[in-house]
């Protein structure tokens, strides 16, 4: 039987020879398997082995798109509303309900980092003395971009709605434009799935400006933005000649964005865990192997180089 060196250890330079199909070879194979496979199982079954999601912080690049849709409810009577938007097709539908407001907006980069931090939006709706606003609905459209991991570009919406039993003079809102994720973002690449307009401003049809349809289509998206303002302030007491004012400050906060890690990131974190457990197994099974072979538990032919008194002699013997 052709002998093959199956194991050697450096301390004694002893080689143990046995056949490929011998018990020793099988035992060695078993030990190897027991060394490398259980760490994987231990690491996996103790949770958190594969990194299935990860998070990063980024302040999004948000710009107001200067697209507004505005409906003011004047009372419960039929046709008592005023509306205006930056979409001409929408304005065409309104006929005499159209009232052009005075808009003043300003985006501010407070920390001078090149990214806008908040939007100051003011809408002044002129009113006749007999008209009273009891509720408003306002859609502001933004372009929302993330760059750190995958480049994510979308057009998003901030929806403001407030109704009050008391006619108002001003609505003050101040809140965050928050990212709402139903799905993990990619770790690389360009994602323009939602880079479509929230409101189809070119459509002439009334159903395309139905707020229920707009909201329904928007919330079909897996990634959206939400204007969260827990404390809108409705101010009453409008002077007869004063306009109704919507005063909004919309902050663009830093977001924690969840994403799906890439292959190498997953492998890297798995490798760290695997190797740290593997080291123990290597040490344990290395000892076991040494024990088994040294003590001839498995029948092998130990080929020990003749231990010479002096290394010179050993060399000579080897050469001869």
């Amino acid at each position: 039987m052709a002998g093959v060196d199956l194991f050697s250890h450096p301390a004694l330079y002893t080689r143990y020879r046995a056949g490929l199909c011998s018990a020793a070879a099988l035992a060695l194979l078993l030990i190897t398997a027991l060394t490398y496979v259980p760490p994987l199982l231990v690491a996996y079954r103790s949770h958190g082995f594969w990194l299935k999601q990860s998070a990063y912080l980024e302040q999004p690049t948000v710009r107001f798109r200067y697209e507004v849709l505005f409906v003011a409810t004047m009372g419960s009577g039929p046709g008592s509303f005023l509306a205006w938007s930056t979409f001409p097709a929408f304005n065409r539908l309104q006929e005499d309900r159209l009232r052009v407001p005075l808009l003043s907006t300003r985006e501010e980069d407070k920390n001078q980092d090149g990214k806008m931090d908040q939007l100051h939006f003011k809408l002044e709706l002129p009113l006749r003395p007999a008209e009273h606003v009891v509720g408003i609905q306002l859609i502001l459209l933004f372009s929302y971009q993330l760059y750190r991991m995958s480049t994510f570009v979308m057009q998003s919406m901030a929806f403001l709605q407030f109704f009050s039993p008391v006619p108002g003079s001003q609505l003050y809102v101040n809140g965050d434009l928050k990212l709402n994720q139903r799905q993990l973002l990619n770790h690389c690449g360009l994602d323009t799935r939602y880079n479509v307009s929230v409101v189809n401003g070119t459509s002439p049809f009334a159903s395309d400006y139905d707020l229920a349809n707009i909201i329904a289509a928007y919330w079909d998206r897996n990634v959206t933005t939400v204007f969260s303002d827990p404390s809108p302030v409705w101010m009453t007491g409008r002077a007869t000649d004063a306009p109704f004012i919507v005063n909004a400050t919309i902050h663009y906060p830093v977001e924690v964005i969840l994403y799906q890690p890439g292959f190498w990131e997953i492998i890297k974190f798995a490798w760290i865990q695997y190797v740290s457990i593997l080291l123990i197994f290597l040490w344990v099974f290395g000892r076991i192997k040494t024990f088994l072979f040294q003590n001839q538990v498995l029948t092998t032919i130990p080929v020990s180089p003749v231990l010479p008194v002096s290394p010179v002699l050993s060399y000579k013997q080897h050469q001869s």
Partner: protein, 741 residues
């Protein structure tokens, strides 16, 4: 009060005002040139300066230096003084303040008060008036301060082709003015103004709306004259600027900008054979030089890094409204319907938050049924019915209008306030409009309109109804078009009376209305896949007989189910018994428990009807699952009715709510494979229930990982495995032996 020098006398902090419009400073060489040309008190003083006026463009102007003139000490009664008393003027208007009592003071302006020969300031006298040459003097009197404004009464605009009053040549005004304030013939104060005004170089012509066309930088130099920085005006020292006239060019022709910036955009390059004269000559020079025209320079496209565009900064831009296009090839689904005048065909529709908009276009093949509230003051007539409509092939069809009078006004009218009948204003208005479009292959074949008219009075609120329906001409049997034979969610469940002569049956639940009494409730079909619950209220008398009540309730519940069989599929045929499943009825437990003559208590009233429909997905047609009803069971649950009333209550009616519920239960079409208890408890292979399930052991290499395409993950995984295998093999002791053999 000997010498009353301006600044000494004046209260500098009080009203020091110097308002001079400044023009851009000229480059230094010009100043020097101008200085050289102008000698103080030289021959070319005033007339030379008056060469003024004209100006094609810009900056071109002349400069001069004026002799500093000494202010003569003047008699200074009181504290009257100009503040400031010396002004260097470079705009067309200058202000000063006369401090002191201005009553009876005459202000006059004197042009060129210098002596022509000596160059010294002439002694001013009070004989002047408020105008001199092109100059005008305005005084705004105040209490102790008078504002004195000296302005140039002519423009120094550059000459445009049609302009009449402008500078004919690029020049400047250079004059000395003196303003004196006199009371009678006594001079109180004097103001010296040194005017040095250049022709207005700011561009005042029409700006062309056409944007400059930027050539493709890969093939043409971006600009043939990079120093031409100002549109429509001559840039100083830019000799390649085409807007510079020869007059202007000769002013700076010696100091033109050189190099690329000066317009030499195609400099000769090293490799050119003709550029031998360059000081640096490579050793290969005469042999490998390039014969080329200068247009083919290697600098071409040097600064071109692909197509770059300026970032679009959003702003308030109202785009132009597009008019509806004219369909010639027929309508497609969702196209707006067009009238003969190329306008939208409009019917009132709901938009925004439920408000109705009047002139909303109608989309082809989009049905709707809307209700709009209106009152007499807000009522508006819609599109007239004689409007002809584009049928889709550029011919026009007339609407077939049927007018009807409304029979039951109360369905449409809510009276908000009761007015006296005598003063109520009424008008005949449209109550409802029903449009039926008959279409075929993208063309409208026919339009039938039914208009319901009625009278609407002041103070009433009308609910108008508008429906638009598109009917296909060639699909009388619409069910055949629908290829999936199974039920779809939201479709009515088919029911049949297979034993009766008329097999058409119905399976309904109540649609409560008004107070919710059973008498006013209508029916609504049971829709597939929609679990529903509905009910109505039965009014029961205290003396009601229990068996009669049971019979009454059972009859009301049974009225919902007028069928013996339910269709398995949406297209079940009435002739085939196999297409139907029989309704399993679990009749209520009929009790004969006597209440012992107690009034107001009835046990075991079958007040709740439960319809359970069991269905399964039996297949899929074109990816849409095909669903089939397997069984229908109807059961009743009973309640104890008790007359609810306190002691001494007068009413003799109590209520009994009766309800019907529909529940759809999905079962697997085939019984699922049995799951061992071990699997069920530990869920080792169910990744939805177990985070560390076995199928995800090698998570990045499985289909569960969606971060990257599976093929990429597999490739990377195999690559890793190959590396590991290679390391394992080469590290084995017998490998080296094998290798050395």
């Amino acid at each position: 009060m000997a010498a009353c020098g301006g600044l000494r006398c004046g209260d500098g902090g009080r009203a020091a005002a110097l308002s001079v419009r400044r023009f851009p400073a000229l480059p230094l060489p010009w100043r020097r040139a101008g200085a050289a040309r102008w000698r103080p008190g030289g021959r070319r003083s005033a007339p030379g300066a008056r060469r003024s006026a004209m100006g094609v463009t810009g900056f071109g102007a002349l400069l001069m230096l004026l002799l500093l003139l000494l202010l003569r000490a003047a008699p200074c009664p009181g504290d009257s003084v100009f503040q400031p008393s010396f002004i260097h003027m470079s705009g067309s208007r200058v202000n000063s303040f006369f401090l002191g009592n201005s009553s009876g003071v005459n202000f006059s302006i004197i042009l060129n008060p210098r002596d022509a020969e000596t160059g010294k300031l002439q002694l001013a006298n009070c004989s002047g008036n408020r105008r001199a040459g092109d100059w005008k003097l305005d005084v705004t009197p105040g209490v102790n301060t008078s504002k004195v404004t000296v302005s140039l009464s002519r423009t120094l605009e550059l000459c445009l082709p049609n302009a009449t009053e402008c500078c004919p040549s690029p020049l400047c005004m250079l004059e000395t003015l003196q303003v004196v304030a006199c009371r009678g013939s006594v001079m109180l104060a004097q103001l010296l103004i040194q005017a040095e005004i250049f022709a207005n170089s700011s561009f005042a012509g029409n700006v062309s709306e056409n944007a400059t066309i930027i050539p493709n930088q890969a093939f043409k130099p971006l600009g043939s004259c990079p120093c031409d920085l100002t549109a429509g005006a001559c840039d100083v020292r830019c000799c390649c600027d085409l807007e510079c006239t020869p007059d202007l060019l000769q002013l700076f022709s010696e100091s033109c900008f050189t190099g690329v910036f000066g317009g030499d955009v195609n400099p000769p390059f090293d490799q050119l054979c003709s550029s031998q004269s360059m000081e640096y000559t490579p050793e290969w020079f005469p042999f490998l030089c390039v014969q080329s025209s200068l247009d083919n320079t290697p600098f071409l496209g040097y600064f071109y890094h692909g197509s770059t565009s300026t970032p679009k900064v959003p702003s308030f831009k109202i785009p132009l409204q597009t008019s509806p296009g004219k369909p010639f090839t027929g309508y497609r689904e969702g196209d707006p319907i067009i009238t003969e005048e190329d306008e939208y065909f409009t019917v009132p529709q709901q938009s925004m938050a439920g408000q109705c908009v009047g002139n909303a276009p109608v989309a082809y093949l989009h049905n709707f049924d809307v209700k709009c509230l209106t009152s007499l003051e807000s009522y508006k007539e819609g599109l007239p019915h004689d409007v002809r409509i584009n049928s889709g092939t550029a011919d026009f069809i007339q609407q077939n209008v049927v007018y009807r009078a409304i029979t039951d006004r109360s369905k449409f009218i809510t009276e908000s306030e009761n007015l006296l009948a005598a003063e109520v204003l009424c008008q005949n208005v449209t109550f409802a409009e029903h449009y039926k479009f008959t279409w075929k292959d993208g063309n409208i074949e026919q339009i039938n309109v039914t208009v319901f008219l009625g009278s609407l009075c002041d103070g009433e609120i009308l609910t108008q109804r508008f429906t638009v329906e598109f009917l296909s001409l060639n699909s009388t049997d619409g069910e055949d078009l629908f290829e999936n034979p199974g039920y779809q969610v939201g479709k009515p469940v088919k029911a049949a009376n297979l034993n009766a002569s008329d097999p058409l049956g119905s399976l309904n639940i109540w649609q409560p209305a008004g107070r919710g009494l059973c008498a006013s409730a209508t029916y609504r079909p049971v829709l597939f896949g929609v679990d529903s619950y509905s009910g109505c209220i039965l009014e029961v008398d205290i003396n009601e007989d229990c068996s009669l009540l049971r019979g009454n309730v059972t009859e009301k519940l049974n009225a919902l189910i007028r069928a013996t069989h339910i269709g398995k599929r949406d297209n079940s045929s009435y002739s085939d018994v196999n297409d139907w499943v029989e309704i399993i009825r679990l009749d209520p437990f009929s009790s004969n428990v006597s209440t012992g003559g107690l009034r107001g208590i009835c046990p075991d009233i079958p007040a709740n009807l439960n319809i359970r429909i069991i269905f399964a997905k039996v297949g899929a047609v074109q990816g849409i699952p095909q669903q089939q009803i397997l069984a229908v069971q109807i059961s009743y649950s009973t309640v104890l009715w008790q007359f609810q009333c306190g002691i001494g209550c007068k009413n003799t009616l109590s209520i009994l709510p009766i309800t019907a519920s529909v529940q759809f239960i999905e079962v697997p079409a085939q019984p699922p494979p049995p799951v061992t208890r071990y699997r069920r408890i530990y869920a080792e292979f169910d990744c939805n229930k177990n985070e560390v399930c076995w199928p995800q052991l090698l998570y990045p290499l499985t289909r569960f990982y969606t971060g990257e395409p599976y093929s990429q993950c597999l490739a990377k995984g195999l690559f890793l495995a190959f590396l590991v295998l290679l390391a394992a093999i080469t590290s084995n002791p017998w490998f080296s032996k094998l290798w050395n053999r």
